[in-house]
């Protein structure tokens, strides 16, 4: 783990999540509003601090960024107009690009891969591919499968759109 200030990392976060991030006063409203705060270490407040201090490894290698439910309450309430969820998203994007291998990163990558290849998400193939990486999710998935299948709510096929090339271009060109 490095504790050196990584100015490049700090600048990347500011570019991705907005320059206003550097006006953070560490009040903790984001953490106090977060529905999964009790499971997080570092807290969202601390995560922002780590980003501003350029502590790349600590900011990217933690469970916090994967526990965010994207509820956006932090973003609605921040008195400085910062979007803490955008900081989380930026960290997730950078962690994925670095090839961090966790179940959470894998889920996001499989999700994105489906969009890139087909243009839409089909839940059964998505779950199937995720279980190859995270077999521990099998019990929950079987339960849900048994619940949804008889109701005709799990299509076996894959939904594909015509404009797959365009979607691929969006993901590759804009995601650089």
């Amino acid at each position: 783990m490095s504790f050196d200030l990584d100015e490049g990392f700090r600048q990347t976060i500011l570019r991705m999540a907005g320059g206003e991030v550097q006006t953070c006063i560490q009040c903790g409203t984001c953490s106090a509003s977060c529905p999964t705060a009790h499971l997080m270490n570092p807290s969202i407040r601390k995560l922002i601090k780590l980003c501003l201090e350029g502590k790349r490894d600590e900011a990217l290698m933690n469970d916090t960024i994967w526990l965010c439910t994207s509820c956006l309450l932090c973003t609605v309430r921040c008195p400085r107009g910062i979007r803490p969820k955008a900081v989380v998203s930026a960290c997730k994007d950078l962690a994925e690009k670095e090839g961090i291998k966790t179940k959470d990163a894998a889920y996001e990558q499989i999700f994105s891969k489906q969009i890139r290849e087909y243009g839409r998400i089909s839940e059964l193939p998505l779950t199937g591919e995720f279980l190859l990486v995270y077999p521990q999710g099998m019990v929950q998935s079987m339960e849900m499968g048994l619940e949804l299948m008889p109701k005709g709510k799990l299509g076996l096929g894959v939904e594909k759109i015509q404009g797959r090339d365009e979607v691929k271009r969006i993901m590759e060109e804009l995601g650089k």
């Binding site: 991705m16 529905p35 999964t36 499971l39 994967w66 526990l67 965010c68 439910t69 994207s70 509820c71 956006l72 309450l73 973003t75 609605v76 979007r83 998203s89 930026a90 997730k92 994007d93 994925e96 179940k103 959470d104 894998a106 889920y107 996001e108 999700f111 994105s112 489906q114 969009i115 243009g119 839409r120 998400i121 089909s122 839940e123 059964l124 779950t127 995720f130 999710g137 929950q140 339960e143 849900m144 619940e147 949804l148 109701k151 005709g152 709510k153 799990l154 299509g155 939904e159 759109i161 015509q162 404009g163 365009e166 979607v167 271009r169 969006i170 993901m171 060109e173 804009l174 995601g175």
Partner: protein
């Protein structure tokens, strides 16, 4: 009224009843829906790169000149957030550089908002008033965040709709508390904790039904309800309806059209109760 319709990916799988009831209710209210051509996934909450998410939304929005309606709060929030970001000239230029049809602005509406507006003009169409029905209005997060049709902290849109339907909206304390849905696959326990809190609170409040505006909230509260009951050894047994399903019942539409047979906790006994109460009033 003519609107472009963005069903969202779940309308083809776990949210089939959301799609069916949206189409049925709109048809009954004279709202003509034209499905967006060749629509793509909005990225939901799983595309971490913001610009990519904006690009995915922009491709959808560039397919039509009509206002776009979606019944899914996740799609709704993503499209609205993208509209805001695309007001920045630099972002718009970067996105349009990769799009086939160029984005030139869009109006995004949620089915709830469209239906409420229509019923406010003419509530004679409500043939089965939901008299005395105790409903927990559950908004979840993304209908109103980051900025939507109502206050992100204390929305009242659903309560207004419920009153229009002659139902009784409960004072539901956790109405904007996150269901945990977006992390339910990799972080099962964390997601289930929040979902169960919402269900317990609805039970404590005396809800006969919970109404939702998002397919992921619906999944967490309805499809997972049985499993959560077993894990926590507590019976909940409260049906969870999409707002479009509840409106459909009040419009006198049949269970088939509204996909009521697809809900996990069967709402059919509740529908019978509604009809029984109604017959006593007339």
């Amino acid at each position: 009224m003519r609107l472009a319709y963005y069903p969202g990916c779940v309308s083809r799988s776990t949210g089939r009843e959301m799609d069916a009831s949206t189409r049925a209710v709109c048809s009954a209210l004279g709202i003509a829906l034209e499905e967006l051509e060749d629509w793509n996934c909005c990225g939901a909450t799983h595309v971490s790169n913001e610009l990519v998410a904006v690009g995915l939304a922009a491709r959808n929005m560039a397919q039509t000149d009509l206002a776009i309606m979606t019944p899914c709060s996740i799609c709704y929030s993503n499209l609205r957030a993208a509209v805001e970001r695309l007001e920045e000239p630099e972002t718009r230029a970067r996105v349009n550089a990769v799009l086939t049809k160029k984005y030139g602005g869009a109006e995004i509406r949620h089915a709830l908002d469209v239906i409420l507006e229509t019923l406010a003009k003419d509530d004679d169409v409500i043939s089965i008033p939901l008299k005395d029905l105790k409903v927990a209005p559950y908004y979840g997060c993304l209908l109103t965040r980051p900025r939507g049709v109502d206050s992100p902290e204390f929305p009242m849109l659903l309560e207004r709709l419920l009153k229009t339907l002659h139902a009784e909206p409960l004072d539901f304390r956790l109405k904007t508390f996150c269901c945990g849905g977006p992390i339910f696959m990799p972080q099962e326990k964390a997601a289930e904790d929040t979902a169960f809190m919402i269900l317990s609170e609805a039970k404590r409040a005396g809800a006969e039904v919970i109404v939702t505006v998002c397919p992921l909230c619906h999944f967490m509260l309805d499809a997972k309800q049985r499993s959560l009951e077993q894990k926590r050894s507590e019976k909940i047994g409260i049906p969870v309806l999409y707002v479009t399903q509840l409106v459909g019942i009040a419009l006198g539409l049949g269970p088939e059209e509204l996909g009521l047979n697809m809900n996990s906790v069967s709402p059919l006994p509740l529908v019978e109760r509604v009809y029984e109460r109604h017959s006593k009033f007339i």
